[in-house]
Amino acid sequence: MAKLCYFGRLTDVTGTAEEVVGLPPHVSDTGSLVSWLETGRGWTGLLSDRCVRIVVNNEIQDHDIDIRDTDEIGFLPPVGGG
């Protein structure tokens, strides 16, 4: 099972900050994960937004990367502190 984490404004749409899901076989990288979630959940454009960064096991990924069913994948909208 993979753990998905949503941060900031994304949780307004996802309704949850974390969920544990089983990835279907065709979801083998971050690109296919985003498509699968956006299509299946009706989250069109939410995660594929170029400003949403994807983090796999706490490492920011600038490009598609292979994922496994045991990974933790985070979706980070633009940040703003201070």
Binding site: F7, G8, R9, D12, R50, C51, V55, N58, I60, G74, L76, P77, P78, V79, G80, G81, G82
Partner: protein
């Protein structure tokens, strides 16, 4: 070093303890950021700050390392609130100490620009009319760009 504070942040107490661990430094600069009532989206009644369990502290540590590599600092301190905050509560506290004041000023300024634009926090403002997630302002990016050698601007603002 604990950067993230879930309870109240007390700038005066932070400054008092910082003074005790700066050796022979002659200059201390501090910055305190507070929740303002007047915001772009109306009268703020409270604020919620979320951090990432790993990346937030990692990013702050990297910014501190960069500051120490760039200026001759005797010590530095970064504290940042997470969770629920009320109006005028301190959100962020930065302190820098150096032999001479120029390094202390520049490093504090640099660390604040990091916290304002790149630090991994998500901020939600609660006003009378609802809640809104806040993303960095263009002026914050402009401040941050002062420290870079290139003129790259953040691609996520219009």
């Amino acid at each position: 070093m604990t950067f993230l504070i879930a309870g109240p942040l007390d700038p005066a107490a932070e400054l008092a303890s910082f003074e005790d661990r700066i050796g022979d430094a002659g200059a201390i600069v501090t910055f305190t950021g507070r929740v303002r009532a007047a915001s772009g989206s109306g009268n703020v009644t409270s604020l919620f700050l979320q951090s990432h369990p790993i990346l937030t502290a990692q990013g702050i540590q990297n910014a501190i390392d960069t500051a120490h590599a760039r200026w001759p600092l005797a010590a530095s301190l970064v504290r940042h609130r997470i969770g629920e905050l009320g109006v005028h509560d301190p959100i962020a506290f930065v302190a820098t100490a150096a032999r001479h004041r120029r390094a202390a000023f520049l490093a504090a300024d640099f660390l604040m620009d990091y916290l304002k634009t790149e630090a991994v926090f998500w901020k939600k403002e609660v006003t009378a009319t609802g809640t809104a997630w806040v993303e960095p302002k263009d002026t914050d990016y402009a401040d941050k760009a002062r420290w870079n050698n290139n003129t790259e601007t953040n691609e996520c603002t219009e």
